[in-house]
């Protein structure tokens, strides 16, 4: 009873994906699209296997940048959200500016960062930091705002300090909202790393991508695209796993809902 609905719900996207792959393979096999424009799935797979060690090397570089950028972003978002929750004037002053930064396209900022910070690790991490920051701050703040004011009064009636209310009520209450922000930011952090690497550097999937594009090796281009989306999916799955561990009460509720 418990498993069948989830298996069926996973079969739909899988079979659609299989259909798309089949169409792609057919288009190539029948010669509808020339191979230099769209390499066949088999050639992409061959390129992936052939370049596997190189791809992994570059992925390690990109993932390191993502991890540093994302974790500093989480830390900063956390501190800023707590400060904005504590001081209303800070929220009024800073929040609109944070929203404003979201209207600037990442791709436009990247060359500036290279100009200011060079070709090393720093411009990449900075770009990842900027792209991840917004969803994190917003999700933490909206989690804080969703706390029932009656529960806050309950804590106050028990003589709780501001710090106790933050740590024992607001933070655990905002976990769910935080994790949905984190999922988005995690995906952004990987894309952010690739975009930053396009503009130059010594390693990373973005650098690899630029090289194979210049060599017109489109099978390798496709291989790296699939690798990037695979890594993003894996990272988001890890976040979900982390969420389950961090919110055991939610997990039990879900199980009950499925059983019903």
């Amino acid at each position: 009873m418990k498993k069948s609905p989830s298996i069926i719900s996973e079969l739909y996207p899988l079979s659609f994906l299989a259909l798309l792959l089949l169409l792609w393979w057919l288009a190539c096999a029948l010669g509808l699209i020339p191979a230099f424009m769209l390499p066949s799935p088999g050639r992409v797979l061959a390129a992936f296997i052939g370049d596997f060690p190189l791809l992994m090397q570059n992925a390690a570089v990109s993932l390191t940048e993502s991890a540093i950028g994302l974790s500093t972003s989480i830390a900063a978002a956390f501190f800023l959200a707590v400060a904005m929750d504590r001081f209303a004037f800070l929220r009024r002053a800073v929040y609109p500016v944070i929203v404003l930064t979201q209207t600037v396209p990442t791709i436009a900022v990247a060359p500036l960062l290279v100009l200011w910070l060079g070709y090393g690790l720093l411009p990449k991490i900075t770009l990842i930091f900027i792209t991840c920051f917004f969803p994190l701050v917003v999700s933490i703040l909206s989690g804080f705002a969703a706390v029932d004011p009656d529960t806050v009064r309950l804590f106050q009636s028990m003589g709780a300090s501001r710090r106790q209310i933050l740590w024992q009520l607001k933070l655990p209450s905002s976990l769910e909202s935080f994790f949905s922000g984190l999922r988005v930011s995690t995906a952004y952090s990987i894309v952010g790393a690739v975009v930053a690497e396009w503009l130059g550097g010594n390693g990373g999937l973005g650098v690899y991508m630029t090289r194979v594009r210049k060599a017109y090796a489109f099978d390798k281009m496709f291989a790296v695209i699939f690798l990037i989306s695979g890594i993003s999916l894996l990272a988001m799955w890890l976040v979900s796993l982390l969420q389950r561990g961090a919110m055991p009460w939610k997990h039990r509720q879900d199980t009950r809902a499925i059983l019903k």
Binding site: D148, D150, T151, R153, L154, F155, Q156, S157, M158, G159, A160, Q164, Q168, L169, P172, S173, L175, M247, W249, R252, Q253, R256
Partner: protein
């Protein structure tokens, strides 16, 4: 000396007076009901008594000490159970002890002793979402009790429950209260509930809300489910209805 005493409490919001000149006293081991229609200012009065809000005039005395506008002295249970969804039942109940700085083990030990009596035995490791309405309410009551056994302010704690659960909780609450000798003020708009549970009833009416009548409830014999059919019970009910209408 009264455990809790209010003297001439007044409170207004935006120039509109909500409660006016309220004086009341709670004796040790007593349960006093505040009875009145919705919106009469009962909850405002509780906010004043618990120190969450400061009155415009008047004062609140806890065992003779002036505690006006100082929260964290008397326990206050609101209408909703307000259990934290992310804590187990035992950790929810322990909240006041932990906030006061007790170690986790010590808090668990103290709460653990009472879990059985509050009908929560075996549910320690469950989450609030896994409990029935009646159990959630009992957990909230235990949490309030662990905060302070001296004085409990209970704002319609049973109003969200179905009639059957409610009447069984009434009997259970009556026995727990007698055993532990807690002093409580109980807000309700249910006349039967007020007569069944109380030693004394204050009736609030008018706008702004004030106390218009006070009634000592003396029912002969055990208070069980049949008592609501007794003559004495019906007599009190008539009297209260009259007071509210006048």
């Amino acid at each position: 000396m009264s455990v809790l005493q209010a003297e001439g409490l007044c409170k207004s919001y935006d120039g509109r007076c909500v409660v006016q000149d309220i004086s009341l006293a709670l004796e040790r081991g007593e349960l006093v009901s505040l009875l009145g229609v919705s919106g009469i200012g009962k909850t405002t009065l509780f906010n004043l008594l618990s120190g969450l809000e400061c009155p415009d005039s008047g004062r609140v005395l806890l065992e003779g000490e002036d505690v006006t506008g100082r929260s964290g002295r008397v326990s206050y249970m609101q209408q909703k159970d307000l259990l934290l969804p992310f804590r187990t039942v035992l950790d929810n109940v322990c909240l006041p002890l932990r906030l006061a700085g007790a170690a986790k083990r010590e808090a668990h030990r103290r709460a653990g002793e009472l879990m059985e009596e509050f009908g929560l035995g075996g549910s320690e490791r469950r989450y609030p979402s896994e409990l029935s309405g009646g159990m959630r309410q009992r957990a909230a009551l235990l949490r309030a009790y662990l905060f302070s056994e001296r004085v409990m302010l209970l704002d319609e704690p049973f109003s969200a429950l179905d009639a059957i659960t409610k009447s069984s909780l009434h009997r259970w609450f009556q026995s727990v209260r007698k055993k532990h000798g807690t002093s409580s003020i109980f807000i309700t708009h249910d006349i039967d509930e007020a007569i069944f549970l109380s030693d004394r009833v204050y009736i609030m009416s008018g706008a702004p809300g004030r106390i218009t009548a006070e009634l000592q409830i003396e029912l002969p014999g055990e208070r069980d489910e049949d008592i609501s059919m007794s003559d004495a019970f019906i007599h009190y009910k008539k009297q209260i209805l009259q007071e509210i209408r006048s």
